[in-house]
C-alpha cells in the first residue's frame, strides 16, 4: 500500500488518542475506586449489583425493625417480671393471712397492703415504652387498665385486642405485643378476691383466692414472659442471619463494583507504558522526508 505522510500523522494521532483514552479509563478506575461508574461500563454486573444493593437495604431495614421490636419486647419482659414480683409479694401476704392465729385487725392491715399491690399492678399493666402503652393492644395512647373507685372491686380494660405486626424478614410478620387483657385480669381478680377474703376473715377464701388464684395468675404471667423470651431469641437469630446476609451481600457487591486495586494499578501501568511508547514512536516517525537528503 502506498503510504503518505498524512496517513502516518493520522494513524499516529488516532493511536495516541486511543491510548490516552485507555490510560484515562484505567486512571479513572484507580482514582475513583469504582469499577463501574456508569451502566454501560458493565451492564450485567451492574444489574446484579443493583439487586444486591436493594437486598442490602432490605437486610438493613429488617435489622432495624428487629432492634426496635427487641427493645419493645425487653420492655414487655421487664414489666412482666415486675408483675411476677408483685404477685409473689401478694402470695406471701396471702400465706400470712391464711395463718389461723391472725386477728381480723392484722388481716385488715394485710388487706391494705394487698390494695397497694393492686394499685402497683395496675400501674405496671399500664406501663409504656417510649410513650406507647405496652399492654393496650393498638390503643397505645391511653392507659388500658383503670380501677373503679376505691375500694376497687373491678378493673376495667380500655384497650383493644389489636396486634402489632413487625416484618422481621421478607414475608414474615410477627406480632410483638402481649395482650394485656389476657395476662392481667386473672391477677387483678385474685388480688381483689384476696383483699375481700382478708377483710372478711375468710381463711378458705384466702387460700382459694390468695394461693390458688395467684398461682394460676402467676403461671399466666410466666407463660407470657416465656413467650416474650422466645420471641426475643427468635428475633436475635433472624437478626444474626440478616446481618450475615448483609455482610456477604456487601462483599459480593463490592467485588462487582469496586476497583480491584492490584489489577487496576497493573492495568494502569501497562496503559501508561503503551502511551509513552506510542509518543516515542510518533516522535521518531513524524520527522523527515526525502527532501532532507536531496541537495
Amino acid at each position: 500500500m502506498r503510504v503518505t505522510e498524512r496517513m502516518m500523522t493520522d494513524t499516529v494521532l488516532q493511536n495516541i488518542s486511543a491510548n490516552l483514552a485507555r490510560m484515562q479509563a484505567a486512571q479513572n478506575e484507580v482514582s475513583s475506586g469504582q469499577r463501574i461508574r456508569r451502566p454501560s461500563d458493565d451492564p450485567v454486573d451492574l444489574a446484579q449489583a443493583l439487586g444486591y444493593q436493594s437486598a442490602i437495604a432490605r437486610a438493613d431495614r429488617y435489622v432495624n425493625t428487629i432492634d426496635t421490636a427487641t427493645a419493645w419486647l425487653n420492655a414487655t419482659d421487664a414489666a412482666l417480671g415486675s408483675t411476677t414480683d408483685l404477685l409473689v409479694n401478694a402470695r406471701q401476704l396471702a400465706v400470712q393471712g391464711a395463718n389461723d392465729t391472725l386477728s381480723s385487725d392484722q388481716r385488715a392491715v394485710l388487706a391494705k397492703q394487698v390494695d397497694q399491690i393492686l394499685e402497683q399492678l395496675v400501674s405496671t399493666a399500664n406501663s409504656s415504652f417510649q410513650g406507647q402503652r405496652l399492654f393496650a393492644g393498638l390503643k397505645t395512647d391511653v392507659d388500658p387498665f383503670a380501677l373503679t373507685a376505691g375500694p376497687p372491686t373491678t378493673v376495667t380494660y380500655n384497650g383493644d385486642s389489636g396486634s402489632m405486626g413487625r416484618e422481621i424478614q421478607t414475608g414474615t410478620v410477627v406480632d410483638i405485643n402481649t395482650q394485656g387483657n389476657a395476662v392481667f385480669p386473672a391477677g387483678f381478680n385474685a388480688l381483689i378476691g384476696l383483699r375481700e377474703s382478708l377483710l372478711a376473715d375468710d381463711v378458705s377464701g384466702i387460700r382459694a383466692n390468695g394461693l390458688t388464684a395467684l398461682d394460676s395468675a402467676m403461671s399466666d404471667v410466666a407463660e407470657a414472659q416465656t413467650e416474650v423470651g422466645a420471641r426475643v431469641n427468635r428475633f436475635q437469630a433472624v437478626r444474626d442471619q440478616q446481618d450475615q446476609l448483609r455482610q456477604s451481600l456487601t462483599v459480593l457487591k463490592g467485588k462487582l463494583t469496586d476497583t480491584d486495586y492490584a489489577q487496576a494499578i497493573t492495568n494502569f501501568s501497562a496503559q501508561e507504558t503503551v502511551y509513552q511508547a506510542s509518543l516515542a514512536a510518533a516522535a521518531r516517525t513524524l520527522q523527515g522526508s526525502l527532501f532532507d537528503f536531496l541537495r
Binding site: E5, S40, L50, A57
Partner: protein, 463 residues
C-alpha cells in the same frame, strides 16, 4: 500522415521547447501537490505526458519522434472507495449520535450512585418500614414525607431532563437540515462550475475535489447516493428522491408535524417524507423518536405504578386525625409525581393505620413497606431493569461506534493511499522533472551551437 514531413534544422529546437514546457508543467503539478499536501479533500494530481505525433521521414524507413506534450492533468481518485467511505461514515455519524445520547441519559440517571433513583426508591420504602416500626412517631411520618418528596423530585428531574434532551435533539434536527440544504446548494453550484469548465475538455480537478469533500460532509449528515452524468454533473439522492439534480436543488424542510409537534424532514417540492437510511440526521431522529421515548415511558410507568399502588393502600388507611381516603401521591407519571400537599403541610395525616384511633396500628405503613415484595415487578426491580437495558444499549452503541470508527479509519487510509500527497514521491518527481528540464535545455544549447556553426562559420570564403 498526409504529406511526407520534412525534418528541418529547427525541428530539434521545437522538440526541445516542448520538452521544456512539458517538464515545466510536471514541476508545476508537483508544486501544486506539495502546496496542497495538507488540504482536506485534495487529490494528488499528475501531468499525463504523451509523445507527440511522430513524423515519417522521407526516403527512410520509419518515423522520427517529435517530443512530448501534456495531454491532461489527472486526479488520483477511486470512486468506489468514495462510495464505501461515505456509506460507513454515515453509519459512524449515526452511531456517534446514538452513543452521545445514551451517554447523556446515563448522566441523567446517575447510576450507580448513593443519590440515584435506585437508592432513593430503597430509602422511600425504608422510611415506611421505619414508620411501621414506630407508627405513633411523628418524626417517622415526617421522614416518610421527606423521603417521598426527594424520590418524587428525582423522578421529576430525570423525566424533565429526558424531555429537555428530546427537545435539544429536535432543534439539532432543524440545524442539520439547514446544513444539508446549504451543502446541497454548494454541490449544485459546483456542478455548474464543473460542467462549464469541462465543456472545453479540461478536467476540473480541484473543483471536483471540492465537490467530493462537500458530498463527504453531506453524507455524514444523511446518507446519499450519487450518479455522475457525462457532463461531469453529479445528482444526489436521499433514498430515491433527488436532493440535487444538476444545478437545481430540492431543499429539505422541517415541519412540526411529528409526535408532540416534533420536526419531520420532508422535501420541499412534493412534501414527501425524506427516507434517511443513515447518518447524523437518522441518529438524531432515532434518538428522539425511539431511544428517549422508550426510557421516558419506562420511567413514567415506574412513576405511575408507584402512584397507583401507594395511593391504593394509603387511601384505605387512617391518619392520626382519624380521617381516611387520602391519596399519598398526586400526579400521574414520573414527570408529575409529587407528595400530596396536604400531607406535606401536616405529616400527621400520613396514614399508618387501617383503623381510626389506634396509634399502635401500623397495618398500612407495613403494607406500603411491603409493596416492593408484593408488586411484580417491584419499582426497584423495574428501575434496575431500565438501568440495565440502558447500560446494554449504551455498551453496544459504543462498541458499534468504535467498530464503525475503525472501519472509517481504514477506508480513510485507503483513500489517502490512493489520493494523498506523498512528499517522498513529490521529491522524486521534482528531481525527475528538473533533470529532464536540464537535459532539454542542454539539447537547445547543442542545437544552438550547431546552428551557430552553420550560420556564422560556414561559407565565409571571400568575405
Amino acid at each position: 500522415m498526409d504529406d511526407p514531413p520534412v525534418t528541418g534544422g529547427f525541428m530539434g529546437l521545437e522538440t526541445a521547447l516542448r520538452a521544456l514546457q512539458s517538464q515545466q508543467a510536471g514541476i508545476d503539478v508537483t508544486s501544486h501537490n506539495v502546496a496542497n499536501a495538507n488540504t482536506p479533500g485534495f487529490s494528488r494530481q499528475s501531468a499525463e505526458l504523451v509523445a507527440t505525433r511522430a513524423l515519417d521521414v522521407v526516403g527512410a524507413a520509419g518515423q522520427i519522434g517529435t517530443g512530448v506534450t501534456v495531454t491532461r492533468y489527472q486526479r488520483a481518485r477511486d470512486a468506489f472507495l468514495d462510495v464505501q467511505y461515505r456509506l460507513q461514515d454515515a453509519r459512524l455519524h449515526q452511531a456517534r449520535v446514538t452513543q452521545d445520547t445514551l451517554d447523556q441519559v446515563e448522566t441523567i440517571l446517575n447510576e450507580p450512585s448513593a443519590s440515584g433513583i435506585s437508592s432513593l426508591l430503597d430509602r422511600f420504602f425504608d422510611s415506611w418500614a421505619t414508620l411501621a416500626d414506630n407508627p405513633s412517631d411523628l418524626t417517622a411520618r415526617a421522614a416518610v414525607v421527606q423521603q417521598a418528596a426527594s424520590m418524587a423530585a428525582a423522578l421529576n428531574g430525570a423525566a424533565s431532563a429526558l424531555t429537555v434532551l428530546q427537545g435539544q435533539l429536535d432543534s439539532s434536527v432543524n440545524l442539520r437540515v439547514t446544513e444539508v440544504n446549504d451543502l446541497a446548494k454548494q454541490i449544485a453550484s459546483l456542478n455548474q462550475q464543473i460542467v462549464q469548465t469541462e465543456i472545453f475538455g479540461q478536467a476540473a480537478n480541484d473543483l471536483r475535489d471540492r465537490r467530493d469533500l462537500v458530498i463527504d460532509r453531506l453524507s455524514g449528515l444523511a446518507h446519499v447516493t450519487t450518479t455522475e452524468a457525462a457532463s461531469g454533473s453529479v445528482d444526489i439522492f436521499i433514498g430515491a428522491h433527488a436532493l440535487v439534480s444538476g444545478i437545481n436543488t430540492d431543499p429539505l424542510a422541517t415541519t412540526p408535524t411529528g409526535p408532540g409537534g416534533s420536526f419531520e424532514v420532508r422535501f420541499s417540492s412534493d412534501n414527501s417524507l425524506a427516507t434517511i437510511a443513515s447518518g447524523e440526521l437518522r441518529g438524531l431522529l432515532d434518538a428522539r423518536d425511539v431511544n428517549l421515548p422508550s426510557y421516558l415511558s419506562r420511567l413514567n410507568a415506574i412513576g405511575s405504578s408507584l402512584i397507583t399502588t401507594v395511593n391504593q393502600v394509603h387511601a384505605a388507611g387512617y391518619g392520626t386525625d382519624g380521617n381516611t381516603g387520602r391519596d399519598f401521591f398526586v400526579g400521574t407519571d414520573a414527570a408529575t409525581i409529587a407528595v400530596n400537599p396536604v400531607l406535606v403541610a401536616d405529616p400527621r395525616l400520613v396514614a399508618a393505620a387501617d383503623a381510626p384511633a389506634q396509634p399502635g396500628n401500623n397495618a398500612v405503613a407495613l403494607a406500603v413497606a411491603q409493596l416492593h415484595e408484593t408488586l411484580s415487578p417491584s419499582p426497584e426491580d423495574a428501575y434496575a431493569a431500565l438501568v440495565t437495558s440502558l447500560g446494554i444499549d449504551g455498551r453496544s452503541s459504543r462498541d458499534l461506534a468504535d467498530n464503525q470508527q475503525l472501519m472509517v479509519n481504514l477506508l480513510s487510509q485507503r483513500r489517502q493511499s490512493v489520493s494523498g500527497v506523498s512528499l517522498d514521491q513529490e521529491a522524486v518527481d521534482l528531481t525527475r522533472y528538473q533533470r529532464a528540464y536540464q537535459a532539454a535545455a542542454r539539447v537547445i544549447t547543442a542545437l544552438d551551437e550547431m546552428l551557430d556553426k552553420l550560420i556564422n562559420d560556414t561559407g565565409i570564403v571571400g568575405r
